[in-house]
Amino acid sequence: MLSPALQVLRPRHVEEAAARLLAGESKAQLLAGGQSLIAAMRTGLSEPSHLIDLRSLIAAHPDLDTLRDEGETLWVGALVTHHRIASSPEVARHSPMLALLAAGIADQQIRNRGTIGGSVALHDPAACWPAGVLASGAWVITQQRAIPADDFFTGLYGTALAADEIILGLRFPAGRSGIYLKSEQKASRFALVGVAITRHATACHPQSSTTTERLPQPGTRIAVTGLGHGVTRWPAAERLLDARFAPETLLAIEWPTDEATADLHASARYRANLARVLAIRAVAALTGQPAPPAPPNDSLRERPTR
């Protein structure tokens, strides 16, 4: 049972919802599918005074609940559920990576209600969507602006969203092929570590910048989730893969252990090594080559004696 003080607001327009986010001393929070927020409220991690039901905005802002192939981009409304993304022919055509990522989130009950907008707004450090969004070079569209994924995720549970900014949806650029692999934390099915890698479907090497501003930079993009500080790219590995896109390329590089965190599920060393192992497997899958056996990184081999 949640706190009886909780009040539900069902505004009709985004402007009205945004005004409520700023209103007075209240701690209002936006409710999309609620699959993370309601769980956080029950455990006391989140104690909003008001819940603003985003579904009440759909009548005035139908894009919120729309999935649409726009040719050069794919529009996914903030309130589109993981299940809809996983089973959408448009998504499968545009980016099989996104469909598979969505199909692997949590379990069917959660996927039936949880939304992409809620997931990126929360930016849980072990969530799958931040990795898929960042590796895709997508844009997060709010009622105020279009935010490139590179600017959107800002550390643990951090985003570039202003206090009254509401995500309307995401735009994914076409023309990138990719894969997302994760090692699950078995109880929650969150990613212990997850790695998304994309590259231009037509050319694997950097090309001259005749592309429009709307297209993401060419070349490889690697996004890693689950390391503990929020989703992050791996520029050193991207550069190596741009020179030679092959799984063994990544044998030459390690994820810095001090950039991963430890908890009861895994040590920082384990997470750092898992990031590299998953990246190697992902590149192998993208190139159709077998993954070379990845020796443990140095920090795993040389366990300090205590």
């Binding site: 949640l2 309601i38 009950q109 959660i110 109880a187």
Partner: protein, 163 residues
């Protein structure tokens, strides 16, 4: 207070619910549907799974007001009402798909939703589809057998499952 207008186990229901109520609060405490057990209360065990608009959801992880306008089926609405069991319930009994019984309502509701999702009646597919439901007695063998046995029959006999 929020107004709920729903179809609950085949009956049109209109009710007023406090803003802070979860779906499970309303089903158990206002409607007396105690077949929706509160298991882990952290949205992991799936014991409280019910079907909302043909999709399985965890009743402990939804606000009551979020289901306004929906068609909801709980374990209480599954049997035909003539004293017999639903095919899926019967199969759980015959295949020893329940031990202590606590997870069973959620397992049966999840299994019924699988028919709508066209989950193939095969062990791997059924186990994967059951990822959101835990049985602390670890009686999964019987549960999976019961579901595999029943899914094709549901599709043949009853293209429209009862939910």
């Amino acid at each position: 207070m929020q107004t709920l207008r729903v179809t609950l186990n085949g009956e049109a229901v209109e009710d007023r619910v406090p803003d802070h109520w979860l779906l499970i609060d309303w089903l158990r405490d206002a409607r007396g549907l105690k077949g929706v057990p509160a298991g882990c209360d952290t949205a992991q065990c799936g014991a409280c799974t019910v079907i909302v608009d043909r999709s399985a959801v965890k009743a402990c992880n939804l606000m009551a007001f979020q289901v306004d306008g929906s068609v909801i089926t709980t374990i209480e609405g599954v049997a035909p009402g003539d004293g017999t069991l639903h095919l899926m319930q019967q199969a759980f009994s015959e295949h020893h798909g329940l031990q202590c019984g606590y997870c069973t309502p959620g397992m049966v509701m999840r299994a019924l939703a699988m028919a709508d999702e066209d989950v193939p009646p095969e062990p791997d597919a059924v186990r994967k589809a059951l990822a959101g439901n835990l049985c602390r007695c670890t009686g999964y063998e019987g549960i999976v057998e019961a579901i595999i046995h029943t899914l094709p029959r549901l599709r043949r006999v009853d293209k429209e499952p009862p939910c």
